[in-house]
Symmetry: C2
Amino acid sequence: MNTLVLDDADREALKRPFIQALLTLIRAQDRSGAMEADTDEELLAPFVVTKVQKRDIPMFGDPDPDILGRVEQIYMAICWLIERETGIAAAPIMNIHHEGWGRIVIITGRLIAVNAYVRELHRFGYENLVQMETKALKLVEEGIAAIRQFPDVAAA
Amino acid sequence: MNTLVLDDADREALKRPFIQALLTLIRAQDRSGAMEADTDEELLAPFVVTKVQKRDIPMFGDPDPDILGRVEQIYMAICWLIERETGIAAAPIMNIHHEGWGRIVIITGRLIAVNAYVRELHRFGYENLVQMETKALKLVEEGIAAIRQFPDVAAA
């Protein structure tokens, strides 16, 4: 199994809420216990794909179903942080074309708290954990701001 | 090719906006012109599946991809009617599990104008055109009411 070699910044990011939430989700979904002995660095390794590695991933064919699972885990963790901050349940809806592009929205009540477009999912992955956290927190903040702007719709 | 035998009520429904919108969409998506010579009754035939016919459709395996296309056409036509009434662009997002159940939302701005759950899509179809129109118009009305309740969110 692959593992990650973390620098100091990534080691700090690993301890913060977003990546902790992601790890909790990954472990919660491991119903067979197959990953029980895996370290955090092993569980996070598939989420990190460097630019050089991406160049070697072909864009034809459909993206690996495991990738869609990881995208969903990222958006679930984002929902979790939104929920923790606002107290309002958030859920992702993913509409991904089989060729690897699409739209993901996070819904709270009747509000679209987050609206994201994704593409080239064949090559889904982040440069490092800090980049993953930064991008995720941007969506968390977008969601929280939308809920605060339209609280009655988010509670509808 | 199958065709429909219409009673008087269905013949009237065929002339009204929802089914006219659906037909326009179907014909617009027929880029190869393969359906150019088909009558309205032939184009609508796959949307009508009686209870007796449904009983014979097995629920195992994945639903026919053509079915998902028809579900999308129904929701696109619903969007079109919402848009015509409110002047606000509406778009469906379908999140359908491959086993034939899922969630469909219609989005206007940041508002979820319509929130629908679907299941047993293997057996997707309506008893007749009047039933199809009635069910669709219920969602059109739900969408219009939501937009009127939260106009600033729908325009966001």
